[in-house]
């Protein structure tokens, strides 16, 4: 079942007096439960593609469909609600809110959006995610008291807390050592299998690309490879 589809998507950024074409007519589909790597060198358009899928940026032309619905014409409020309900984000620099502790950072998305969870239910769910990412001992610690790997685990838990169908991870291992990076990817893969959450991550690390079930390779804003290695989680 297709959860995301890009149809002839282009993105042009003005850069002074010239325009830079970051994405040049990209089209592909992503299945529900996919564990997909968007690979390519720096400047190939990986992050731009993730931004467009995550509805935090809009295409210059073309269509981005999430669960069969085009994101074009949505208001800022509607896009924000769509992000909250459907998409979880894992950032390269972790992007934890510095003044909130581990528990509060993970809880944050639950406090946004229209649908609110009861406090006891929320606590139980956040705590279970803290256990899932192995941070029980760090529950009340602030981000600056955590290592890079621990911060990224918090970010993963936060990305999953609103039970999104899609998790976008922009170079999630770029700021981690290789061992920690592998652990993070393994954790993401485990969650992908258990919860059937679609994971889309950008990377230029060949080892990590090898773990993906589906690889889309970009060069200069164009898709040069679209290879499925394994069936999506839930379809096996």
């Amino acid at each position: 079942m297709t959860i995301i589809e890009l149809k002839d998507v282009r993105k042009v950024y003005p850069l002074g007096k010239v325009s830079v074409q970051a994405v040049r007519g990209v089209s592909f589909a992503i299945e529900k439960g996919d564990f997909i790597s968007i690979a390519g060198p720096s400047g190939s358009g990986k992050s731009t593609i993730l931004n467009l899928i995550g509805c935090i940026d809009t295409p210059t032309s073309g269509i981005v469909e999430i669960e069969g619905v085009s994101t074009a014409g949505h208001t800022d409020r509607e896009l924000t609600q769509l992000r909250h309900d459907t998409i979880g984000f894992i950032f390269q620099s972790f992007n934890l809110i510095p003044v909130l502790d581990v528990y509060e950072n993970i809880e944050f998305p639950l406090l946004m959006g229209d649908g609110r969870m009861a406090k006891s239910q929320r606590r139980e769910w956040v705590d279970s995610l803290i256990v899932e990412v192995g941070l029980e001992q760090w529950r009340r610690h602030k981000p600056n008291e955590l290592s890079g790997g621990q911060r990224q685990r918090v970010a993963i838990a936060r990305a999953l807390v609103a039970r999104p169908k899609i998790v976008l991870a922009d170079e999630p291992t770029a700021n981690l050592d290789s061992k920690t990076g592998e652990q993070i990817i393994s954790l993401m893969k485990k969650i992908n299998r258990e919860l059937e959450t679609t994971f889309i991550f950008s990377t230029h690390d060949a080892n990590i690309v090898g773990i993906a079930d589906h690889v889309i390779r970009l060069v200069d804003g164009e898709v040069v490879e679209n290879t499925r290695v394994a069936a999506p989680a839930g379809a096996r």
Binding site: I56, Q81, R83, F91, S93, P109
Partner: protein, 486 residues
């Protein structure tokens, strides 16, 4: 605690140095505003006791200046060049009886104002004085803050002068000789009738509850003496002067006066003379009352001073309705140039506060904008995670209001401490102007609760205005900034 308040509070703590910079500025502004307001309140109270309780009353009624837009005060017409004589109040009796019928009125009295050069016989020195011509049977009822320290008040129909203790001291200094009750003063007046001389005895010395030297420039006399010195008719029905006496009153040069064997005259001799022809001075004031003589002003003391504004408006409406060319005004109109100096101080203070507020807004705004720029990644992340724009706006609003209110309260506490210290030091007023400002000879500040409330509201207003631009900047931060933060 809601997450946005938690984030706002913790951000303030996290960025402590910035919070303290903004907060210190706010606290300083609050101190200046509270102390300034306190000074104005003090001046206001001082002015009340100095002017309303001592010589203006609550409402003052005068004739209208011939020059449009020029005001008339108890000190005359403030026209450019000061060459217009003070207009007489028309239909005095009708206005006075209308005022006395009003149950809000405590007392009503007429007054004339003149100026005179005062000396003692055989003394070459002179001192300038304002002369208030009053009816001694009514006038003291209006100003009960004045009390006798020597001699007695004027009696009805008596010629004489009552001076203040300060006036006496000033006169002694200027005349270089002791001046006491019973001394006969020579007063040279210059009014529309020309140059006049009167001899009047000091019958009493008064003092005031208000500590001020402003009153030391004024002496109180019987009305007829001031009328003669100012060239106003003495009493339309009662006084009919001989040709010689009229010529003497109308004297325009020293030769006219001193050329004759009789150098001075008094009102009694003026009254005793009874030639049939009317005085030319009478003709100069045709609109003046015949029953009570001519008056420049009517002073009204209300039972409740707070009704002065409404009473003034109603009186003006009545005067207009009756077609009487007179105008009612409050103490500020009566005090004229003295009140204007207070108004100037007030305007200067408010302009200073406005400039301070603008500077505060700019500094707070600038600091908040820097804070927003530093936090674009955080804002972008919140937006990416599902925070709507109102969440971001409220977060900055809570931060700004918290900082302004907390430091506003600190500023008020410091201002209270400063008021206490200033009152302990007992700063003396250096001159008459600062006496008006201080409301007495020593600065004694008092702070009203309303001053706190208005200052806090103003500070909150500054906070609200300051946060607008940074919030606009924050709301423009796109969620994609989350991806770009390092």
């Amino acid at each position: 605690m809601p997450v946005l308040i938690r984030i706002a509070f913790r951000n303030l703590r996290e960025h402590m140095s910035k919070s303290i910079i903004i907060g210190s500025l706010i606290a300083l502004g609050v101190i200046i505003i509270v102390l300034g307001n306190s000074l104005i309140d003090t001046a206001e109270r001082g002015v009340h006791s100095m002017f309303i309780d001592n010589y203006t009353g609550d409402v003052f009624i005068s004739g209208v200046s011939k020059t449009p837009g020029v005001s008339v005060s108890l000190f005359g017409v403030t026209s450019p060049g000061d060459n217009e004589t003070t207009p007489l109040i028309p239909e005095y009796d009708a206005i006075a009886s209308h005022l006395r019928e009003d149950p809000r009125v405590g007392a009503v009295a007429g007054q004339l104002t003149g100026m005179g050069l005062v000396t003692l016989e055989g003394n070459d020195n002179r001192t300038m004085s304002f002369l208030f011509g009053v009816d001694p049977s009514i006038y003291p009822d209006l100003f009960r803050d004045t009390f006798l320290v020597e001699g007695r008040y004027l009696k009805t129909g008596e010629e004489g002068i009552v001076v203040s203790r300060g006036w006496l001291k000033n006169a002694e200094k200027a005349l270089k000789t002791p001046v006491k009750v019973g001394d006969k003063l020579i007063v040279n007046g210059f009014g529309r009738g020309g140059f006049k001389i009167r001899e009047v005895s000091i019958v009493g010395v008064v003092d005031f509850n208000a500590e001020t030297e402003g009153m030391d420039m004024i002496a109180w006399s019987n009305a007829d003496t001031v009328r003669i010195l100012s060239g106003v008719d003495v009493s339309a029905e009662d006084v009919v002067l001989s040709r010689e006496q009229t010529a003497l009153l109308d004297a325009k040069s020293e030769e006219d006066i001193f050329g004759a064997s009789e150098s001075t005259m008094d009102a009694a001799s003026a009254r005793s003379a009874a030639p049939s022809s009317p005085s030319p001075v009478q003709g100069a004031a045709p609109a003046a009352s015949k029953a009570g003589g001519s008056w420049h002003f009517l002073l009204v003391r209300l039972k409740d001073s707070r009704q002065a504004e409404a009473f003034t408006a109603e009186t003006n409406a009545w005067l207009t309705g009756k077609g009487i060319a007179a105008r009612a005004g409050g103490w500020k109109a009566a005090a004229g140039p003295f009140a204007q100096s207070i108004e100037v101080v007030r305007i200067v203070f408010y302009v200073a506060v406005l400039i301070l507020a603008i500077v505060a807004v700019i500094i707070i705004m600038n600091t908040l904008v820097i804070s927003v720029i530093e936090r674009t990644g955080e804002i972008g992340t919140m937006r990416a995670l599902g925070a709507q724009k109102p969440f971001v706006w409220l977060m900055f609003l809570v931060e700004t209001l918290t900082i302004t209110v907390v430091f506003g309260v600190i500023g008020i506490a410091l201002a209270m401490a400063a008021v206490g210290v200033i009152n302990l030091i007992r700063i003396p007023a250096a001159n008459f102007f600062t006496q008006i400002l201080f409301g007495g000879k020593v600065l004694r500040l008092a702070v009203s609760p309303m001053s706190f409330v208005s200052t806090l509201l103003m500070v909150a207003g500054v906070g609200l205005v300051s946060h607008l631009y940074p919030v606009i900047v924050a709301l423009k931060v796109p969620p994609v900034r989350a991806m770009q933060s390092e």
